[in-house]
């Protein structure tokens, strides 16, 4: 499961997508990225797809300014983009993504996963010669990977996505931190996953998540008995960097001071010959706190400094006009859409949903988000860089009339309103509809455009702006609240598989009473059945095709109204050769970034 700001990880399978190359995919340095020139282009500004990953200068200290603190730095818990900037510099999962890639690269693993013919067994062989950082120091084995996943089921760790992506793992339902029946370690450099369903491809794809980063049981177990686990405060690393620690391995107050700072130093036990990361920098000093507008200026006018959160809109303009070489734009930063209540209220009518889609000025919605530099007009739900994007219609999207005029078409909207039973072409219901939106910019502006569009269609509205977390936790994510419209919900895939984009957000089987991510309560039996079937489809191309059909059905059902495929901007100082992560919302990759 994933949500706002969460990671975009890439899909795993080693076989390159057969169908993607033909229709508008873009080749980056090492892989093929689903999309087309128009949605992957960043208008001449640097992007993960164009930045050189090699020839960086070795040495130096990078200063990082983060407005907000990390949520979790334990690889078994970490789930947010900001957390991943540290976790993927210090930890090595079985598979990882190069900064410019959506195809995974073996990291701790020696080669691509072996998926059995019945798709119920996934075998991964580990590289030899990888060691934990001090004070553990010993070589990593498959038992450490097994423990890393097992501890995810420990209530004291409570990994947020284990039950979603590893639900088919044998024995997962009974798991509580001890051995999991479906994980076998035949020798110290092999691990085998036994599944109860033929979902080998999907599980293999999920091995890019940091849950698979090795954790030494004999060292971590005592920390994992605490509730919550404080292994993060004593963690050891397998990557090129480690959080600075003392002889006992303590990180808290030394390499990480909550709300203040974090310091990454070189891992003395890192073996460069086993890793694809160049690790140019000697040290990364992260300062936490401040305000975004001030940080933006400090970075633009600074030297060896970067920020790892999206800059304010005014700073993007300033950078684009005056500091062009210091802005990096990363496509594939997720999508925004309007969730409309499919279950109750006026938008249980498909024609009224189509009317809203037709009337909405999606270009205006994107303009208030910063314009074409950081957005693309969305025409369907699987967004660029995600497998299945091209099969789902690419940039143009499915050919339905309400999708053809991104600037809005009121006449067409009125046609659909008449079809919904309102002969005047205007909605005439008396009860105001409830619109609940996030209060921050630019979500608020989007909400006001949607509100005005609804009024233009005849709806009486009650627009309420609340904190984004409140919007999800108390209103849009709680079905019984029966909110009619949530104008700015956001979704970012955990890895480049279309199931991670569509399943939790649009399957009727995913609706839960709280923390619900199917915000529109979309529950179409034929779509639910198609999703269930597609979950077991194996093979990259086949999965892309299967989920693209579901995407098209969702568009034909006007289940929600997509309006933005995000491109994420980041700023760097003049002395930094920054390399951003395509798969992680454009966050800087400390293992590839260097100083000029």
């Amino acid at each position: 499961m994933r949500s706002i700001r969460m990671l975009v990880a890439t899909a795993l399978a080693a076989v390159l997508a057969l169908a993607l190359g033909a229709c508008g995919s873009s080749s980056s340095g090492s892989t093929t990225v689903p999309g087309s020139a128009s949605v992957l282009s960043t208008g001449g500004y640097q992007s993960p797809l164009t930045t050189s990953l090699t020839d960086g200068k070795r040495g130096g200290t990078l200063q990082v300014l983060d407005e907000t603190d990390f949520e979790h730095l334990d690889p078994g818990i970490a789930y947010y983009s900001l957390d991943y900037t540290v976790v993927f510099a210090t930890q090595r999962p079985l598979y990882s993504n190069k900064p410019d890639a959506v195809e995974p690269t073996p990291d701790m693993a020696a080669a691509a996963p072996e998926i059995s013919a019945d798709n119920k067994t996934v075998t991964v062989h580990l590289k030899e010669g990888i060691h934990f950082s001090p004070p553990v120091n010993r070589e990593v084995t498959s038992h450490d990977v097994a423990y890393a996943i097992e501890r995810g089921a420990n209530p004291n760790v409570a990994n947020p996505y284990l039950s979603t992506y590893f639900s088919s793992l044998e024995g997962i339902k009974q798991a509580n931190g001890g051995a999991i029946k479906g994980i076998e370690t035949p020798n110290k450099h092999a691990i085998v996953f036994h599944l109860t369903e033929p979902k080998g491809q999907f599980v293999a794809d999920a091995l890019v998540l940091p849950l698979t980063a090795a954790v030494p049981k004999e060292y971590a177990e005592k920390f994992d008995t605490n509730n919550p686990s404080d292994y993060a405060n004593y963690q050891v690393a397998t990557g090129p960097y480690m959080l600075k620690n003392n002889a006992e391995g303590k990180v808290l107050g030394i390499g990480y001071s909550p709300g203040k700072s974090a310091t990454l130093v070189r891992n003395p036990n890192w073996n460069a010959s086993t890793d694809f990361r160049p690790a140019y920098l000697n040290e990364i000093d992260i300062k936490i706190g401040g305000t975004q507008a001030v940080i933006d200026r400090q970075v633009l006018e600074g030297g060896n400094v970067v920020e790892n959160e999206p800059p304010a809109q005014s700073a993007i303009k300033l950078a684009a006009e005056n500091y062009k070489s210091q802005i990096d734009i990363s496509p594939g930063g997720g999508s925004h859409y309007i969730a409309v209540n499919n279950k109750v209220g006026p938008f249980s009518s498909i024609d009224l949903r189509k009317a809203l889609w037709a009337a909405l000025d999606r270009k205006a919605m994107d303009r208030v988000r910063g314009g074409e530099l950081v957005t693309n007009v969305a025409t369907h739900f699987i967004y660029p860089t995600i497998n299945g994007f091209n099969e789902a219609g690419g940039v143009a999207g499915p050919k339905v009339d309400y999708n053809e005029h991104p600037e809005g078409d009121i006449a067409l909207a009125e046609k659909y309103i008449r079809l919904a039973g309102y002969p005047s072409g205007k909605y005439t219901g008396e009860k105001p509809i409830e619109v609940v939106a996030s209060s921050g910019a630019p979500a608020k502006e989007d909400a006001e455009i949607v509100n005005q569009t609804l009024k233009n269609l005849g709806f009486k509205t009650k627009l309420t702006l609340v904190e984004q977390s409140t919007m999800y936790a108390k209103y849009c994510g709680v079905p019984k609240e029966e909110i009619d419209v949530c104008p700015n919900v956001n979704w970012i895939a955990d890895f480049s598989d279309p199931q991670t984009v569509l399943n939790i957000t649009f399957s009727g089987n995913s609706i839960v009473s709280s923390g619900n991510n199917n915000w529109g309560q979309v529950n179409v039996p034929t779509i639910n059945a198609a999703m269930t079937a597609a979950e077991s489809v194996n093979g990259k191309a086949a999965r892309g095709a299967a989920w693209a059909k579901i995407d098209e059905e969702l568009v034909r059902d006007a289940a929600a109204v997509p309006f933005d495929w995000d491109k994420q901007p980041r700023l760097e100082g003049s002395a930094v050769h920054g390399v951003a992560q395509l798969w992680n919302e454009g966050a800087w990759d400390y293992s590839f970034t260097s100083l000029k």
Binding site: Q292, A293, A312, Q313, S314, A315, I316, K317, L318, A320, D361, K363, A364, R367, V368, R369, G370, G371, E372, L373, E434, V436, S439, A441, P442, K444, E445, A447, E448, I449, N451, Q452, K462, L463, T464, L465, V466, E467, T470, Y475, E481, I483
Partner: protein, 318 residues
């Protein structure tokens, strides 16, 4: 304060050749000598006209309505365009005319300021009079209630109530989000200030001769309070209310700034300032004009309050 018959102004009735003046005449004579207060009064009158006739004013100035969106008035980065002949105060991120929104924002500011203060003052006067007049356990109970309410941080109260009542309202729907909610919070939070002042005045006034005379003539408690004491409270109440108005205008602006005040698309100065802060470097006009409107309005009410205090209490020294 303005004492009534039997009070401190009796000396004005004395002196054979001197024409007597009513308290109102005396007040006006003093007030008109305070030019700052007069200008403030004129500005407030101007604001009231603007607020009442906002649609007409906007129309006469040839401006679009306050919630007319026009994204063509933003550049390719989505940044709003600055002041021009067509849009003298520039536009915001949605291409809405800032001048039009500032004009309509006057309505909200004055509604909150005047209505909120009026209700809080009415409640405060009633409670203060009861406490001061009856003393004893009634005074003790009401005074402790005032102490309790005064100990509540008003901004946190506003934030809490605003968040709790954000979508569906609260008190079984009696308090709806928006203007009503803000006035509700203002009333809850500010009546004790008025009540405490009134209580103190009533405590001393109830012992005065004119009250005793009225009581000796068989007047009821209600009559004494409403006909004898209340008129004598007019001056301090007016002065205090005038000074409370700008506080409440600022309170509304603060709540709207923190997104728990006025709902968009209704224009509010505080909300506009909040929206402007992240883009100040590229759209200074969006903060400057609503900010100036808020500053001038609050300043005008404060200066007027000072002038009223001087005119109504000539013995006070500032």
């Amino acid at each position: 304060m303005l004492p009534s018959g039997g009070g401190a102004l009796d000396f004005l009735e004395l002196g054979g050749g001197i024409a007597s003046r009513s308290p109102l005449q005396l007040f006006w004579r003093r007030f008109r000598q305070d030019r700052v207060a007069l200008v403030s009064l004129g500005f407030i009158a101007f604001l009231i006209v603007i607020a009442v006739a906002a649609p007409l004013v906007v129309s006469l100035l040839g401006l679009p309505g306050p919630d007319v969106q026009n994204l063509n008035l933003t550049d390719s980065f989505g940044s709003p365009l600055g002041p021009s002949l067509a849009h003298p105060f520039g536009v915001d991120q949605l291409g809405e005319d800032v001048m039009s929104r500032v004009i309509y924002g006057t309505r909200v500011a004055l509604e909150v300021g005047i209505l909120g203060t009026g209700i809080a003052t009415a409640v405060g006067v009633a409670v203060g009079m009861l406490a001061g007049f009856y003393r004893g356990w009634i005074d003790t109970a009401l005074s402790r209630l005032m102490d309790v309410v005064l100990s509540i941080p008003i901004l946190l109260l506003g934030l809490g109530v605003g968040a709790a009542c954000a979508v569906r309202g609260c008190v079984k729907g009696a308090v709806q989000p928006g203007l009503g909610l803000i006035i509700f919070v203002i009333t809850i939070a500010t009546w004790p200030y008025v009540a405490r002042i009134v209580r103190g005045l009533v405590l001393s006034m109830r012992e005065r001769e004119f009250v005793e005379a009225s009581r000796a003539l068989g007047a009821s408690d209600a009559r004494i309070m409403l006909r004898e004491i209340l008129p004598n409270l007019t001056a301090p109440i007016i002065v205090y209310a005038t000074l409370l108005i700008p506080t409440n205008i600022l309170f509304e602006a603060a709540l709207s700034f923190l997104s728990v005040g006025i709902r968009p698309p209704t224009a509010s100065w505080g909300q506009m300032i909040a929206q402007a802060s992240p883009i100040f470097t590229t759209a200074w006009w969006y903060m400057v004009f609503p900010g100036a409107a808020l500053l001038l309005t609050v300043l005008a009410f404060n200066l007027l309050g000072d002038g009223l205090q001087d005119a109504l209490s000539p013995r006070s020294v500032r």
